[in-house]
């Protein structure tokens, strides 16, 4: 019987055939925590007497969610993580380097890897053909200690995409559309596997956006086959030798196959307070937006900034709206500076945050006021997500974000041409 990508990655890792429904104990190739989940991992680790880290070069602590720290408590949490890294020899990625998922994609994840992270958006690395999933602090503490974890091999829903996107319609609109269609629990416990002609020609940046949001449909992983796009990205990062081809079998058994015609999609927005509460951007005319947030592990990459900059070039944002931009990594920031995008954002009236999670999770750098609404390129719009339960978060693509910044209202990017 043919294998899905999830089954194939796990079978290759375990050296035996496994299929959906089985419980397996698997080696872990990369385990990480970030600064809001890591302190608990460190305390659990230290209290339980686990001893040396199984593979310290592949065990990573990221300081990105509160970066730089806005208060004494979080600064002290950062100290705990830094001293743990010093004592154990595991890797630390300090404030200013960027969001864990972007750095994992740039520098760490490999096709066929098993990646676990104490962050739900660990699924992002699925874009590179890794089996990557989010877990809690204790699970990652154990992965640090033993170099393994347990999984139930997931059933798979295949998303098969054909045809070309219309102008200003992006991977973000596709994944918002999928989540709106299957619901916030439409793929719970399952793998979402992406394929089809549109996916084959999609950039790595777009794939990362889609994989990143798989968890917003409840999925355990969001996974893509590796191909020449994966190879090219690894080569650019000086990791060409880490490429390996991995794809599902032609006769793989899927629980369900969903076919999508990309040419029929339009700019899509999630309304408060759930990601599956989707609507077309053009149907939200007149909805006032006080802050636009462009960035995050979902849409804070160079390609996202290029798209937003193409809309904002030589224009001014609405005086009633703030534009907050956060690059996903230091590499993205430097490239965006070289390309002139940062100048475009600043001259349009925007402001630039350091690489990191920025305003996404309500810790700092753009917390909303009572009654305010934000159009964000991030992945979540739950009540209270951006730091205030009396505020409202809409999710959209970088193009929709840029168009919205110009008008101060939710705007379909095709309308500001």
């Amino acid at each position: 019987m043919g294998k899905t990508l999830a089954e194939k990655i796990l079978s290759q890792k375990l050296g035996r055939d496994v299929s959906a429904g089985e419980i397996v104990v698997s080696p872990v190739d990369l385990a990480f925590v970030q600064d809001t989940t890591g302190p608990l991992t460190v305390r659990e680790y230290q209290a339980s007497g686990f001893g040396a880290i199984a593979d310290k070069r592949r065990s990573v602590l990221f300081l990105d969610h509160a970066a730089p720290s806005p208060n004494a408590q979080l600064s002290t949490d950062h100290l705990l993580l830094r001293s743990f890294a010093r004592d154990t020899g595991c890797v630390i990625s300090d404030v200013g380097a960027g969001v864990c998922h972007q750095i994992v994609a740039e520098s760490m994840a490999r096709p066929g890897d098993i990646v676990v992270g104490a962050d739900s958006h660990t699924v992002t690395a699925g874009a590179m053909g890794a089996f990557a999933t989010g877990m809690g602090s204790s699970d990652v503490a154990v992965a640090f200690a033993l170099g393994k974890t347990w999984f139930r091999v997931p059933e798979t829903i295949k998303i098969e995409v054909k045809n070309k996107f219309q102008q200003f319609v992006t991977a973000k609109d596709l994944i918002l559309h999928v989540i709106g269609m299957i619901g916030a629990d439409g793929a719970t416990y399952k793998a979402l596997e992406f394929g089809g002609k549109t996916v084959e020609s999609m950039s790595m940046s777009g794939r990362l956006t889609i994989a990143n949001m798989a968890v917003e449909a409840g999925a355990k992983i969001g996974v893509f086959p590796s191909d020449q796009t994966t190879e090219k990205m690894l080569r650019e990062m000086g990791r060409a030798e880490q490429y390996r081809s991995i794809s599902p079998d032609k006769d793989a058994v899927y629980e369900r196959v969903i076919e999508i015609d990309a040419s029929e999609l339009e700019p899509t927005v999630s309304r408060p307070h759930t990601v599956d509460n989707t609507v077309l951007a053009k149907d939200l005319k007149g909805v006032r937006i006080h802050q636009v947030f462009l960035g995050t592990c979902t849409n804070g990459r160079l390609e996202d900034f290029a798209l937003a900059a193409s809309i904002l070039r030589n224009k001014k944002i609405s005086p009633d709206t703030r534009l907050v931009v956060a690059p996903a990594s230091k590499r993205v920031l430097l490239q965006a500076m070289d390309a002139g995008y940062m100048r475009i954002f600043i001259e349009a009236g925007g402001m630039i945050l350091p690489p990191g999670c920025g305003a996404c999770l309500g810790v700092h750098q753009g917390v909303l006021g009572d009654g305010e609404a934000c159009l964000s390129t991030a992945n979540r719009n739950f009540k209270g997500r951006m730091g205030n339960p009396n505020s409202f978060v809409y999710l959209g693509s970088p193009a929709t974000a840029a168009a919205t910044a110009l008008t101060g209202m939710v705007t379909d990017p095709r309308e500001v041409l």
Partner: protein
């Protein structure tokens, strides 16, 4: 037998509603963080909940972030189990890892304030107020072994490894 009162919540109770990001600075001060448990879903919950009581949700309870602090503060509030029609994957796994029972059953039949008795062995939720018996879906064997040890860390401390294949 677990006994207590039902606190009803709706569908899609996210981990942001259980422990919001704006309180992330309290995550290294769990007793303080626990005072805010479920605050953005029901600001009166923390003051009213008594040891043994149950959190009763609808569909997709615990969706969102992987923060293990969510089941931790629910357990610290004295809650003996969370009942829901369905759970988000990471919350479910985290709750078991913290020794907090998470039970899948038809919670539509439970009303706010109902007295409940849960028989973990028999797999039955008895709603004393309504006099209805609900069965809950058995917790997968691999996870039950972890729950029985009080969570993942005690389990690994005891066995030194996963013994669940």
């Amino acid at each position: 037998m677990l006994k207590g009162k039902a606190f009803k919540f709706g569908d899609d109770i996210s981990t942001d509603l259980i422990v919001p990001g704006r309180l992330v600075h309290l995550r290294s001060n769990l007793p303080e963080l626990a005072k805010h448990v479920l605050e953005d879903a029901d600001p009166t919950f923390a003051a009213r909940v008594k040891p043994g009581d149950f959190v009763v949700g609808g569909n997709n309870f615990g969706l969102g972030s992987s923060r293990e602090h969510a089941p931790i503060v629910i357990k610290m509030a004295g809650v003996s189990a969370v009942l829901a029609k369905s759970f988000a994957r990471i919350f479910f796994r985290n709750a078991i890892n913290r020794g907090l029972p998470v039970l899948i059953c038809d919670t539509d039949q439970i009303k706010e304030g109902d007295e409940l008795e849960v028989d973990m062995e028999a797999g039955i939720v008895h709603d004393v107020t309504n006099d209805v018996n609900l069965t809950f879906k058995p917790i997968p064997k691999a996870m039950l072994a972890i729950l029985d040890e009080g969570g993942l860390i005690p389990y690994i401390q005891k066995y030194g490894d996963f013994k669940i294949e």
